[in-house]
């Protein structure tokens, strides 16, 4: 039973990673850039919840909407201001800019909220669920359920709608997509918007699970989610889901059975192993280098 409850907490953690990894993988697939600041969007989303519930006393559903809107706008604005002018630049330039944006968000939060961790309001008033001897916390049940719903909706969106088709086309070949009348700029903005909205949702679940949020809260889950995206094959949406869940389970089990302090090291080591054995990840496509 111990094993099962560890597995479930791993799956719940993994679904948070999966939500963040989706943002990474979609942006990477379309803009071919590693959005280093994506992790910090989670932190912004969580802080929006804290401010609107604890400080302004707004109802939970308003706070949730505010948080998603805030992150979406932030994602689109950073893309417009910082990444769009660099679309033809070298990857090194874009990566350094993304690190700059990440640093900017962290330090703005540091100036506004201070370095101490703020407690996250309890927004899911759900008692834990018992099945036989097994008990699951309300948060993990909600996290798992919402993640599954979001993933199904996202798959439908990508595969069935016109906008989703445009996104797939842009990620395949930007120039050809443009010739077909697809607005590349709008599609990239849309991708950032969706990715950031998912990050906001992840931020809510992260805050609800851990209870505390600080200016640097987003960076570690952000990096781990990138690991998850690589794990599943960067650019692949089902890959990000599977990668996130696997990584969450791996982290939870190594915390339970190996060592709490070493769990991060194990997660990162798994990234190195995956990249060596199968550099394209579990579901990634092989891209041939052209001269």
């Amino acid at each position: 039973m111990d094993f099962l409850s560890n597995l479930i907490s791993g799956l719940s953690l993994g679904s948070i990673y999966a939500l963040i990894a989706l943002g990474y993988t979609m942006v990477y697939g379309i803009a071919k850039m590693l959005n280093f600041a994506h992790g910090d969007i989670i932190m912004v989303g969580a802080f929006t919840i804290i401010v609107s519930i604890s400080t302004c006393g707004l109802p939970v559903w308003v706070a949730l909407i505010l948080s998603v809107v805030m992150c979406t706008v932030l994602g689109v604005v950073t893309e417009r201001v910082a990444y769009k002018p660099l679309r033809k630049s070298e990857p090194l330039t874009v990566l350094i800019t993304a690190i700059g944006v990440s640093y900017l968000l962290q330090n703005l939060a540091l100036l506004i909220f201070g370095s101490s961790q703020k407690s996250f309001p309890s927004i899911f008033d759900i008692s834990s669920v018992h099945i036989g001897d097994l008990s699951m916390s309300g948060e993990s049940v909600v996290t798992l359920a919402v993640t599954i719903i979001i993933m199904i909706a996202l798959s439908l969106f990508i595969n069935k709608t016109r906008a989703g088709k445009a996104m797939r086309a842009v990620s395949e070949d930007k120039e050809a997509a443009e010739l077909m009348g697809i607005s590349v700029n709008k599609t990239i903005s849309l991708t950032f918007a969706i990715g950031s909205a998912l990050a906001a949702v992840a931020g809510v679940f992260y805050g609800a699970t851990y209870g505390f949020i600080g200016p640097y809260t987003g960076s570690m889950p952000g990096i781990k989610a990138f690991v998850a995206a690589v794990f599943g094959g960067i650019g692949s949406i089902p890959g990000a889901m599977i990668g996130g869940l696997l990584l969450g389970v791996l982290e939870s089990l190594s915390k339970a059975y190996i060592s709490t302090e070493l769990s991060d090291a194990i997660v990162f080591a798994s990234l190195i192993v995956v990249l060596l054995v199968k550099p394209t990840g579990l579901l990634g496509k092989v891209i041939k280098e052209k001269v």
């Binding site: 590693l34 630049s89 990566l95 100036l111 990249l275």
Partner: protein, 335 residues
């Protein structure tokens, strides 16, 4: 000797000149008592940051790959060198022990560089950046969990042998080695690889071994800087070597100009002194770094921005990136 080589030599001599003149000014200030205690206390950190920035510039500027694990190599070197110094504190005199500790720290960091580099350098770009970051974090959490490193509480008892003169000598050695390396046949191979991988490979440049060479060299000097760091403070904890530290070094390199050794040196000096000199600045320090990073990159990516930069006399950076952007000849532009 070709024209480019003469130009490179001249450039190097100017850089040496700047560093030696700065050293002389500081030495006079210390000798005449003009430098306060507080000013003296940041002299060694300045040297450490110069070594770190120059060695990271070798990887970022000349190899063209982003390594975010520089602080990891620094910590490996620091722990190796400091443990050696602690165990030999009673046996060896400081004059022998400290240089030996630095060499050991550097070599151990270089060994880690090889161990991490062989698998990691098969990747490039974003993947390489994130994997070096992961490697740095692995090193940090392993150090915290090992018994003989003092764990989370830190390593105490390292003899405090660091001083400004030694720091300066190590800076000179680092400059000498890296600047000569960059202008050598191997350095040209690495720059060729940065500018066009496929063309370099078809000219017979062995990509993997040259990548590894530059990476390991960067790791070696990061380790030496770590030993210097460890000998400057009474306690050594692994937490100071997290990836924020790596990014701080990257900020120094980027602000000084990617691919410019002289720029790295000047920017390391400014960035170390500025927060100490302006107390009120400390709160906004990281925020300003972040904005500076973004603005630098945005300016460099547009024609107009590059003009502004070259007017501001960030010549090295502007011209280097311009040439890289336009895929022109790069030779002779790197200092």
């Amino acid at each position: 000797m070709g024209l480019n080589e003469i130009k490179a030599k001249k450039n190097d001599l100017i850089t040496y000149g700047i560093v030696i003149i700065l050293f002389a000014i500081v030495a006079v200030m210390v000798a005449t008592g003009m430098a306060t205690r507080h000013m003296q206390s940041i002299l060694v950190p300045v040297c450490i940051n110069i070594i770190l920035a120059v060695s990271l510039n070798l990887v970022v500027g000349f190899l063209g790959e982003l390594s975010l694990g520089h602080a990891g190599f620094m910590s490996v070197g620091a722990y190796a060198g400091c443990l050696f110094a602690i165990y030999t504190a009673d046996i060896l005199p400081a004059a022998v022990r400290f240089p030996l500790a630095m060499i050991i720290g550097g070599v151990v960091a270089a060994v880690f560089g090889v161990l991490i580099g062989i698998p990691v350098l098969r990747l490039s770009g974003d993947y390489l950046a994130i994997v070096t970051l992961a490697a740095g974090e692995i090193i940090r959490s392993v150090i915290i969990n090992l018994g003989f490193t003092g764990g989370a509480a830190g390593l105490k008892g390292t003899p405090q042998d660091s001083n400004f003169i030694i720091g300066f000598v190590v800076v000179l050695i680092t400059m000498f080695v890296i600047m000569n390396f960059v202008n050598s046949k191997h350095g040209r191979a690495i720059k060729a690889m940065r500018d066009n991988k496929i063309a370099a490979e078809s000219c017979g440049v062995n990509l993997n071994s040259y990548k590894l060479l530059a990476f390991v060299m960067g790791a070696f000097f990061a380790g030496v800087a770590g030993v210097l760091y460890g000998h400057n403070y009474s306690i050594l904890t692994a937490d100071v070597f997290d990836y924020n530290r790596s990014i701080e070094i990257l900020v120094i390199v980027v602000l000084g100009g990617i691919g410019s050794i002289r720029g790295s040196i000047i920017s390391a000096i400014i960035i170390t002194i500025l927060p100490e000199a302006l107390r009120g600045f400390a709160d906004y320090r990281m925020l300003i770094y972040a904005i500076a990073l973004i603005v630098m990159m945005l300016l460099n990516s547009s024609e107009k921005g590059r003009e502004i930069l070259s007017k501001l006399n960030f010549r090295s950076l502007g011209s280097l990136l311009k040439n890289r952007g336009a895929k022109k000849e790069v030779q002779g532009n790197d200092e």
